[in-house]
């Protein structure tokens, strides 16, 4: 079984080819070379030619390296001892703790039977109005954060992780800058969250093949916690690095690229990971939040594009705020009907008016005369920017909804909002209701204490 082979035929990139018999597809092997011992995985069989992807990279591997097949696929240890620990992509300790070898589980297990899934029903509260009000995060959701490089996506990820009520946090870092890794670790430690976290970190300096393992390892561990009844939040950063690592291997293997060099199975590969997000009928759940940086701030780039088709929505992080138009939580309808009667209406109305505000801004920039309506929109938009959209705002959902009504009443007449008459009667702040009843044609602003912005000509 554990016969040693030491005739390497080919070395290209991080892939070596060795002649061997009885080898199984995706089996692991140990490659011992002058540089040390590394794990490797079988990625193609052609007669007795076995292609292996070397986790530590093939650099320094010589044609006389010794290859020993292990007879099993990639595994990780699973137990509560993982909590508070940091590992590499191939599940070796990255902190000073001991290596774990008990209760080994296989990674990349089979998909969940769709008939055993349930409809997600629990909101995850984040205290961020742009999420809670407009694009509610839901337990078991898979959601990427699309961001151009340089945006504070890791900070956003960390903040959501700390504020969300979950039992276990699994962080998978792919191609992380070392400072970002330390940022995550320190933030989790400072907030006392490290004891319920496990980190699998591949930094930009580590071998690229290990990057490929991070999502599978993280999700396999998350799955075990979820099966044990835990609500697990998986944070992945950054999936674009993962896709680039796949591209690198695919090109080395001379696969025909489909789009900008990425392999044709990019969609399936990403989906296999994201679809691990689940709410088990009689056990826990997995929620996945994944950063996907957009090269050139372009969401038609193959990685964000394919991701968008897989995930249940996306958060766009631009100019330091969550973009209200492009961002979407597909699962919000599952939960925002049960929060408060006005949640959906406020969500839609505020966004539609905010779209109007953006148009007015454009008109203003081009130097057109501002109508009365434009003036109202401008006033509204500025309050929206400052009091709801700014990422530093941290208020519970109900407060945010009340604030929404207050801003509406401050800027518009009820009729101009297009809100259903029934809701206006119930939620519109009182002062404004009176003015509506007394004189409908009175165009003056309902709350006179805030002076309307002067329209610019």
């Amino acid at each position: 079984m554990h016969k040693v082979y030491h005739r390497i035929e080919d070395i290209a990139g991080n892939v070596i080819i060795v002649r061997a018999a009885g080898v199984k597809y995706r089996e692991l092997a140990e490659v011992a070379s002058r540089r040390g011992v590394s794990l490797a995985q079988v990625i193609r069989l052609e007669g007795d030619h076995v292609s292996l992807q070397v986790f530590a990279g093939a650099r320094g591997v010589a044609t006389d390296a010794r290859v020993r097949f292990l007879g099993h696929t990639m595994r990780v240890p699973f137990s509560d001892a993982l909590l508070g620990r940091v590992f590499t992509g191939s599940a070796q300790p990255r902190d000073r703790g001991p290596a774990l070898s008990e209760n080994m589980i296989e990674i990349g297990g089979p998909p969940v039977n769709p008939s055993k899934r349930i409809i997600p029903r629990n909101m995850i509260r984040t205290g961020i109005p742009m999420i809670d009000v407009f694009n509610t995060l839901v337990e078991s959701q898979k959601l990427p954060i699309f961001a151009p490089a340089g945006q504070p996506y890791n900070q956003l990820l960390a903040r959501i992780a700390l504020q969300a009520e979950v039992d276990v946090i699994v962080l998978g870092g792919m191609g992380l800058k070392h400072d970002d890794y330390l940022f995550f670790r320190d933030t989790l430690e400072e907030q006392g969250a490290m004891i319920r976290s496990v980190l699998f970190v591949h930094t930009a300096a580590d071998p690229v093949v290990e990057c490929l393992l991070v999502p599978d390892v993280s999700l396999a561990v998350a799955e075990q916690f979820a099966l044990a009844g835990k609500r697990v939040l998986v944070l992945l950063s950054d999936m674009t690095n993962f896709a680039d690592a796949m591209k690198e291997i695919a090109i080395t293997m001379e696969q025909i690229p489909s789009n900008r060099g990425y392999p044709g199975d990019l969609y399936s590969q990403l989906a296999a990971r994201y679809e691990k997000a689940v709410d088990f009928d009689t056990a826990g759940s997995i929620t996945v939040l994944a950063v996907t940086t957009m090269p050139g701030d372009d969401d038609t780039h193959p990685v964000p594009d394919n991701t968008g088709y897989i995930t249940e929505g996306q958060f766009y992080l631009r100019d330091g705020v969550i973009d209200p138009f492009r961002s979407l939580s597909r699962l919000k309808q599952q939960v925002n009907g049960d929060t408060r009667a006005d949640h959906r209406t406020i969500m839609n109305t505020l966004i539609q008016l905010y779209a109007g505000y953006r148009e007015s801004l454009e008109k203003q920039a081009m130097g057109f005369r501002m109508s009365e309506w434009d003036a109202k929109l401008l006033k509204y938009g500025r309050r929206f920017d400052r009091e709801l959209m700014d990422l530093s705002v941290n208020i519970p959902l109900e407060k945010a909804l009340d604030l929404g009504w207050e801003i509406l009443a401050d800027c518009f007449e009820p009729m101009e909002t297009g809100v259903h008459t029934r809701l206006i009667e119930r939620f519109w702040p009182n002062s404004a209701k009176r003015s509506m009843e007394s004189d409908k044609s009175d165009a003056s602003d309902p709350s006179d204490n805030a002076s309307p912005p002067t329209p610019e000509t």
């Binding site: 018999a21 009885g22 199984k24 597809y25 995706r26 089996e27 193609r44 069989l45 052609e46 007669g47 007795d48 696929t73 297990g109 089979p110 998909p111 969940v112 039977n113 769709p114 008939s115 055993k116 899934r117 349930i118 409809i119 078991s140 696969q255 025909i256 690229p257 489909s258 789009n259 392999p263 044709g264 199975d265 969609y267 399936s268 989906a271 679809e275 038609t300 594009d305 394919n306 088709y309 897989i310 138009f325 492009r326 979407l328 597909r330 309808q333 009907g337 959906r344 539609q352 779209a355 008109k363 081009m366 057109f368 005369r369 109508s371 009365e372 101009e416 297009g418 259903h420 008459t421």
Partner: protein, 577 residues
């Protein structure tokens, strides 16, 4: 069974290279053995004594030298009573029963019978000994939920056969023979309720194909009024992610005027299937009073399930649709998303080292897509009844760009195009079907002249909106400004539809004719205003009342009252000097 045997010579992702002896056919089903489990495969290519097979399962653990068994048969599905309400994977494995057996996860190599063998059905013969039958003609009927399920003579019968024996009325299992047929050459055949049919071959046991003419009411206003779908027609919904393709498909699966709906969830999110799967048993079908699941078959091969089975899933769905058409039903097949199927073809093609076409899709993409959609259609059955399969497929173009190969291949063969626009969905104008780019070759449920007028108005409105961005409101004439406002009004109160409002979510054809007739009057009316602010104010008010109107049931007393209010409001503006 086949006498061919083989052994694995290579493994590359989901593709096996197999050395074989004996006769092996293209698209034949084979099984690869690993750890005592048999993994289903399909022959993709034969070269000398080596064949390339795509495996419908995860290939981890397969080794060179492992045995491969050939079945001698094409990939087939089981057809018979008991299909309705089922949830299958792409290979027609019943997922709920698989879950009973394997728990939370899908275990590879577990294949169950699609139709339960122990269930008994009450068979009533429709023929008697001595009757002549041909392929697809009814031998008898069994009640299946809300329908009479016809038991038909095998679809692969050639020529005229005589009924030699037919079972008496009574309870039978699907595999019990219910008739014995004999042909002029003296051959006899037993016919059971269950028959098997290869998925990639259309069932064509009907008299002739007809032209789709009648509209299929989906109760989505922008579709039925502006971009209608015909019974037996085809349509596609391309759109970038987040534009609402799947929600639109879900709405259609609920409200569309079809006897049976087949949902093929191909390579998309599992969560979306779950919604259908958990909610349909609770929702009432207004047409029958039974639950929606009673008229639905779900084929789901979601994105994390094996890629090779994606292709099988759309064909499985199409074959079941064709089967119910054969017994006289109007079937609607919704495929979401055909792009994932095309990508599966691309993955397989790439691993077979075929020379790639545009964006690495295989060169045969267009012909595969075309022949799939061509399996839709209205037919006249041999007994004169009409039946149909209508196909609606979503397309997920890379980067939301409709110029990509899958969208273009699809547009060539469909009768209606519902293009979803990112701009509309960003502005939360749902359904986000672009009213300017979309088209349909079928007839609308409302008056054609009114539709032409409204489309013209929408075009003008869009042009004026563009112009206003350059010259501003002050540079726009009052006349143009009113056209712009009217277009916005039409958009807000008619094109947009609130999927979450119990009344507004579905608009019957009758209501569409009534409401659109009223709106056409308003759009044609000469509205007079002195100031733009006054015009905007007026239209805001009118929009508000009309939206309220949309949320009132047509038989409620407020319906007429609100209509009257709208009429009076408009009269105010037309009477103004």
């Amino acid at each position: 069974m086949s006498d061919a045997t083989g052994t694995i010579a290579g493994v590359n992702g989901s593709i096996l290279t197999v050395s074989f002896t004996g006769a092996v056919g293209q698209n034949e089903v084979a099984y690869a053995l690993v750890d005592g489990v048999r993994l289903m495969c399909e022959v993709m290519r034969v070269r000398g004594n080596q064949a390339d097979l795509q495996v419908f399962e995860d290939t981890t653990g397969l080794a060179v030298g492992a045995p491969v068994e050939f079945s001698g048969e094409l990939l087939s599905v089981e057809l018979g009573p008991g299909l309705l309400g089922q949830i299958y994977d792409g290979l027609q494995n019943p997922l709920p029963r698989l879950a009973e057996q394997c728990g939370f996860f899908l275990q590879r190599g577990t294949y169950l019978e699609a139709l339960p063998r122990d269930a008994k059905w009450h068979f009533t013969p429709a023929v008697k000994p001595g009757d002549a039958v041909t392929a697809g003609e009814t031998l008898g009927k069994v009640p299946e939920g809300i329908f009479d399920h016809h038991i038909m003579a095998p679809f692969n019968l050639e020529g005229v056969w005589t009924v030699e024996r037919v079972a008496e009325a009574g309870e039978y299992r699907v595999t019990d023979a219910v008739a014995r047929l004999k042909n002029a050459q003296g051959l006899t055949r037993e016919a059971a309720m269950l028959q098997r049919w290869p998925v990639k071959i259309p069932i064509q046991a009907f008299a002739e194909r007809l032209r789709p003419a009648d509209p299929l009411v989906t109760q989505v206003r922008v579709i039925d009024t502006f971009f209608p779908v015909a019974i037996g027609g085809t349509y596609c919904i391309p759109g970038p992610f987040g534009a609402g393709k799947t929600v639109l498909q879900q709405i259609t699966s609920r409200y569309a005027d079809a006897d049976i709906v087949i949902i093929a969830a191909c390579g998309e999110r599992a969560g979306e299937v779950v919604e259908t799967l958990r909610e349909f048993p609770k929702l009432t079908d207004p047409r029958t009073g039974k639950t929606l699941i009673d008229r639905t078959v779900i084929i789901c091969n979601t994105s994390s399930m094996p890629v090779a089975a994606r292709e099988a899933s759309v064909y499985t769905a199409m074959t079941i649709a064709g089967y119910y058409r054969q017994m006289g039903r109007n079937v609607l097949l919704l495929a979401d998303s055909t792009s994932r199927w095309a990508q599966a073809l691309r993955e397989t093609s790439g691993r077979l080292d075929e020379i790639p076409g545009e964006e690495a899709f295989p060169a045969y993409l267009e012909s595969v897509v075309a022949s799939f959609y061509e399996r839709a259609g209205v037919v006249r059955l041999k007994d004169g009844r009409r039946a149909s399969v209508t196909v609606g497929g979503t397309v997920s173009p890379a980067g939301g760009n409709f110029d990509e190969p899958v969208t273009q291949a699809t547009l060539k063969v469909v009768g209606a195009f519902h293009g979803l626009s990112r701009a509309r969905s960003d502005a939360r104008r749902y359904p986000a079907i672009d009213p300017l780019d979309s088209w349909s070759k079928y007839a609308s449920v409302v008056d054609a002249a009114d539709v032409a007028m409204a489309r013209e108005l929408l075009h003008q409105g869009a042009e004026i909106a563009q112009m206003m961005k350059v010259v501003g409101e002050e540079g726009t004439s009052m006349e143009d400004f009113v056209v712009y406002l009217k277009a916005e009004y039409l958009d807000a109160v008619y094109l947009q539809q609130d999927a979450y409002d119990p009344v507004d979510s579905a608009t019957s054809a009758e209501r569409q004719r009534h409401v659109f007739g009223a709106l056409a009057g308003i759009l044609r009316a000469a509205l007079r205003f002195t100031e733009k602010e006054q015009a905007r104010h007026f239209m805001h008010g009118l929009t508000q009342i009309t939206k309220d109107w949309n949320r009132i049931a047509m038989d409620a007393p407020e319906f007429r009252a609100t209509e009257e209010r709208i009429r009076r409001t408009v009269a105010e503006a037309t009477g103004r000097a």
